[in-house]
């Protein structure tokens, strides 16, 4: 199922042909203008005695034909047939022009070569040779008819003082070289084009294969994440049962136990508590990574209120460390569009870090600023700071800075990874400035939805 190649390739070639036909039609407008101006210029400025009426009539015919093409372009089914017809019609127009500008002597005959090249790029190899053959047939036919005086030869004396039609051998040599140059051009152009097309096909196939492989890989990665999510999720119930039971024992509801046993239960309970934090962190991390569908939609949330709510829940912890918390939020509400739980996770993790890594009696200040296109939240502390080399690494999963470990043994090393993943989802960004021993400032910038 994954490797369904060759499918888009065909349509891309077809699309390319359609595009080329459009360009071809545009080119024809220019040719009409070219024929008119050149012939009028030749006739009146250079005083060359051209038969202006038939030439302008041919230009008019091309114009009408092109109008028809423009209309039909959107309605035809087979674009290659359409192209074949157009090119054939062009040959006829070109031969008529050649006829009225001096027959086989006419310089217009060079344009046959261009046309063969165009045919080579638009058509298949076979069709191109077929078109070249048709052109040769027209040229030779015209020369023979004119040579035998079946069709009157238009002789332009100003250009060709010595008519070649009287000289059969000269005529033959011109025909010969016209034919060979036409076929040679057809050969060169088609072979170049074939090689280009082959290469293009290879690239398209390659691109498809890469896209397929990438999609498959993404799918596998997703499956793996889903699996991890489920496994982690399954860990929650037994863990909370364990902790609930341990809590009951610890608080003496299962009867009196020795001080030593109580100590051990407390330790077990603490480790279980850490495991639960880890499991919750992992669930948040995976959910933020795979963009797990949220149970709740995004809402407009006043970030000032969210900050106050988060602080409320950390009051106890902050009080126990005698931390001074300064809030400097904007007087009017600053709304961002976000899933409430996501904002909650972001703020909780960031403020919790500040509380955790700021020593007794330190200060944490939270401020925000609004501009027309962004809302900036800044959480600053006078904590232990982050070692310079660690600044880039701390967003990595499970990475914990050395001084963080020294300060607090426990910690999952997941918080900032979760925050970063979530922040990326909302097109926001996070910056951390820090100086060891002085403190850390985290700045989160949310883009503001133009609609709000």
């Amino acid at each position: 199922m994954p490797y369904n190649t060759h499918k888009p390739e065909k349509s891309s070639l077809e699309e390319e042909l359609i595009e080329s036909i459009s360009r071809f039609i545009t080119l024809r407008w220019i040719i009409v203008v070219g024929i008119c101006t050149t012939s009028i210029f030749a006739r009146f400025a250079l005083k060359i005695n051209l038969p202006l009426t038939p030439i302008l009539f041919i230009a008019f015919c091309i114009l009408m034909f092109n109008l028809a093409c423009l209309y039909l372009q959107k309605h035809v089914k087979s674009h290659s047939n359409f192209t074949n017809i157009q090119i054939s019609a062009d040959w006829i127009a070109l031969v008529s022009l050649v006829h009225y500008t001096g027959g086989i002597e006419s310089p217009v005959i060079f344009y046959f070569i261009f046309h063969v090249i165009i045919a080579a790029f638009l058509l298949s190899k076979r069709a191109c040779y077929f078109q070249a053959g048709f052109a040769v047939l027209l040229i030779t036919g015209l020369s023979i008819l004119e040579y035998l005086h079946i069709t009157p030869h238009v002789h332009i004396k100003e250009l060709f003082p010595n008519p070649v039609y009287d000289n059969g051998l000269y005529l033959l040599s011109i025909i010969f070289f016209s034919i060979t140059s036409l076929f040679f051009s057809a050969y060169l152009a088609t072979s170049v084009n074939c090689r280009l097309r082959r290469r293009e096909n290879e690239i398209v196939t390659l691109k498809d294969n890469i896209t397929d492989a990438y999609n498959r890989l993404e799918e596998l990665d997703r499956e793996k994440s889903e699996f991890t999510y489920k496994v982690t999720h399954e860990l929650r119930s037994p863990l909370s049962a364990i902790q609930s039971l341990l809590k009951s024992i610890e608080e003496g509801y299962a009867g009196e136990i020795s001080q030593k046993a109580r100590d051990l239960v407390v330790r077990s309970e603490k480790r279980t508590s850490f495991l639960i934090t880890l499991v919750n962190g992992l669930l948040d991390l995976i959910a933020s990574k795979i963009g797990k569908t949220k149970e709740v939609d995004s809402q407009l949330i006043d970030i000032n209120v969210a900050v106050k709510d988060t602080l409320q829940l950390m009051q106890e912890k902050a009080k126990s460390k005698d931390l001074e918390i300064i809030i400097n939020t904007t007087p009017k509400p600053s709304y961002i569009k976000i899933v409430p739980d996501d904002l909650d996770i972001i703020l909780t993790n960031l403020i919790d870090n500040s509380v955790k890594y700021t020593k007794q009696g330190g200060t944490i200040s939270i401020s925000n600023t609004i501009t027309s296109n962004e809302i900036k939240v800044e959480i600053s502390d006078t904590g232990i700071g982050i070692i310079k080399d660690d600044l880039e690494k701390i967003f990595k999963e499970f990475y914990r800075s050395k001084n963080a470990k020294q300060n607090d043994m426990r910690g999952t090393g997941l918080g900032l990874s979760i925050v970063e993943n979530l922040i990326n989802q909302y097109g926001a960004n996070i910056k951390i400035r820090s100086e060891v021993g002085k403190g850390t400032t985290v700045t989160v910038t949310f883009p503001v939805d133009q609609e709000c």
Binding site: S237, S240, A241, I242, S244, K247, S248, I276, D309, D344
Partner: protein
């Protein structure tokens, strides 16, 4: 004065045990049911003073259905006598904070009186239970 009767509806026997111990130690009578349907039947027969209800049982939302049944406005509901029993709902650890599951926000569509999160902390449980029974937390 007789002891207050508390019905715990939860399919996890360990969680039930962890809650039963502190509750019994505080002179509450505890009865238990390990599924939503058993719980409903027991509520109807025993008319407890308080129901502690787990959300996720047979299905992820079995607890919600129990709550809806118990609080049904239907006059002929077989649980009409249970309508005024306070319900304390146990939710999985939604978040450390649980903003998404606070009674102020969800009461409108979820007819329970308060929430408690797993893992259950005995002190917290006892506090909520006594609040609900004394009616101070009643909405």
């Amino acid at each position: 004065m007789t002891n207050k009767k508390i019905l715990i509806i939860d399919d996890d026997p360990d969680i039930v045990e962890a809650m039963r111990l502190p509750l019994e130690a505080n002179a509450y009578d505890v009865i238990t049911a390990n599924s939503g349907s058993d719980g409903l039947q027991m509520a109807r027969e025993e008319i407890p003073d308080l129901i502690i209800l787990d959300v996720m049982m047979e299905t992820d939302t079995a607890g919600f259905h129990v709550a809806y049944e118990l609080r049904s406005e239907d006059k002929d509901s077989e649980y009409r006598n249970c309508r005024n029993i306070p319900i304390l709902m146990i939710t999985a650890i939604s978040k450390q904070k649980g903003i998404s599951f606070s009674p102020e926000k969800d009461e409108a569509f979820l007819p329970v009186d308060d929430f408690i999160e797993k893992p259950v902390h005995p002190k917290n449980l006892l506090k909520k239970v006594s609040e609900l029974l004394s009616g101070s937390k009643k909405l």
